[in-house]
């Protein structure tokens, strides 16, 4: 007996396989895109953030050292001027400068770690966004290019200007000097100052 050939069933089976294959291909592409993202973002590892921290500190440290040298010099000079450089008060004042310096360095170190954490947060967010995009697009070549672009465009948090770190510590010394400068018969008065402090002037009405 002549049977009709079951063409439509064969077509249906073929279509079923095609659809399944397409989904497999999509999943493969998503995985490939993910690998590209992971590969690009692999550079952001612990040594990278450690180096960033070192650089962050390095960007501030020279200025801090300079300010510290100036502050210590001023303090020693001021103490010596008053003959207090060998005194307990003098040692305490110098200790205060040292304390301010070390406190600033410690704060800088902690700030560097916080900045590295913030930077890592930005990197992770960028990575997450790319993962989401990759799942939607399933286009590995586009994702690879995008990942490279995003990774290079990442801006790390930069240190804020240091400011006058020793202002408070030197406050008393500066005040003393100012006061001394304008005090009558002060030894701190510059030589060009005409007024003796005794004052012979008078107010003319």
């Amino acid at each position: 007996m002549c049977m009709p050939k079951n063409d439509s069933a064969a077509i249906a089976a073929q279509q079923q396989e095609q659809v399944a294959q397409q989904e497999r291909r999509r999943q493969k592409q998503v995985k490939k895109g993910q690998e590209s993202i992971d590969q690009v973002f692999a550079q952001f590892d612990t040594p990278f953030y450690d180096k960033y921290k070192t650089d962050y500190v390095g960007a501030q440290q020279p200025e801090l050292a300079r300010q510290s040298d100036v502050a210590m010099g001023k303090t020693v000079a001021s103490l010596a001027d008053r003959g207090l450089d060998g005194s307990t008060i003098g040692a305490s004042k110098m200790g205060a400068v040292q304390r301010t310096k070390t406190t600033a360095e410690g704060a800088l170190a902690n700030e560097a770690t916080d900045a590295a954490n913030k930077f890592r947060g930005n990197v992770e967010k960028q990575k997450g966004d790319l993962y989401a995009l990759n799942q939607a697009a399933a286009d590995p070549s586009m994702i690879a290019a995008r990942a490279t672009g995003e990774a290079t465009a990442l801006v790390p948090p930069s240190p804020s200007p240091l400011g006058d770190v020793f202002a408070n510590t030197l406050n008393s010394i500066n005040s003393y000097q100012k006061g001394n400068m304008y005090a009558p018969a002060s030894s701190a008065r510059p030589w060009w100052s005409l007024a003796s402090g005794g004052g012979s002037g008078q107010v003319v009405r």
């Binding site: 079951n6 089976a13 279509q15 989904e23 993910q34 500190v57 304390r99 410690g106 997450g128 799942q135």
Partner: protein
């Protein structure tokens, strides 16, 4: 014994019934193989979904384990140690030669050196104490990054699961269609032949010359004009 027409009628009826039965047998077989094909697709889908679920479970378990109290404490310790190392690398100890004139007596120099060293130690300790507090934040942040990573993993697996789930109805439909076999037509042919035979037997039953078998049909049931031959049961 029965006459040929009666025999034909009986055979035709049997053929009709048999053909019908064969047709429904074929239809049942078809429906069964279609359901089987649909079930196969469903089973394969469920297996994949189970694998996805296991992947997600493993990822989640790993994350939860990574956030266990001991693991968190370890993270805090590591963070504090890391911050401490950065502090140690950043802070510079006071110089051994104190910033005094060379003529200053040793006792004075020692006093100043002691004051500087004390200030340095205290300030370093204060920075490290702050680092200890920050260690908790570091641990939380690390966990947050870990959760983000797990979220990405699970997100990808769920994306695959959703993709497969979206295809399931069409895959089942296509599998069912592919499993469907066209009817051989044998049942219908037999049934049709039986119907034709029955019709023929029915048309021949009342015609003159057609002798009904004895006892085939009582006279009162016979069509008009039918005379059962004499000597038969109803012809008397």
């Amino acid at each position: 014994m029965c006459d040929p027409i009666t025999g034909l009628a009986i055979a035709s009826t049997a053929a009709s019934v048999g053909g019908g039965l064969y047709s429904s047998y074929e239809a049942n077989n078809n429906a069964q193989s279609e359901m089987l094909a649909r079930n196969n697709v469903l089973n394969s889908f469920l297996q994949k979904q189970t694998a996805h679920r296991k992947n997600n479970e493993a990822a989640l378990t790993k994350r939860v384990e990574d956030m266990a109290p001991q693991a968190n404490q370890q993270k805090i310790d590591n963070a504090v140690a890391g911050r401490g190392a950065t502090i140690d690398a950043t802070t510079s100890a006071p110089p051994s030669d104190v910033p005094l004139t060379g003529s200053a007596p040793k006792v004075v120099k020692d006093t100043v050196a002691g004051a500087l060293s004390k200030a340095f130690g205290e300030a370093t300790d204060a920075a490290k104490a702050k680092a200890k507090v920050s260690g908790y934040g570091d641990m939380m942040l690390d966990n947050q990054f870990g959760i983000g990573d797990t979220e990405r993993q699970i997100g990808t697996t769920n994306n695959f699961a959703r993709g497969e789930a979206a295809l399931l109805p069409s895959q089942q439909e296509l599998a069912g269609f592919a499993a469907r076999k066209p009817s051989t037509g044998i049942g219908q042919i037999i049934q049709a032949a039986g119907q034709v035979g029955s019709m023929y037997a029915g048309s021949q039953a009342g015609r003159p010359g057609v002798v009904a078998a004895p006892g085939a049909m009582p006279a009162w049931q016979a069509p008009t004009g039918y005379r059962p031959p004499a000597g038969t049961l109803w012809g008397i």
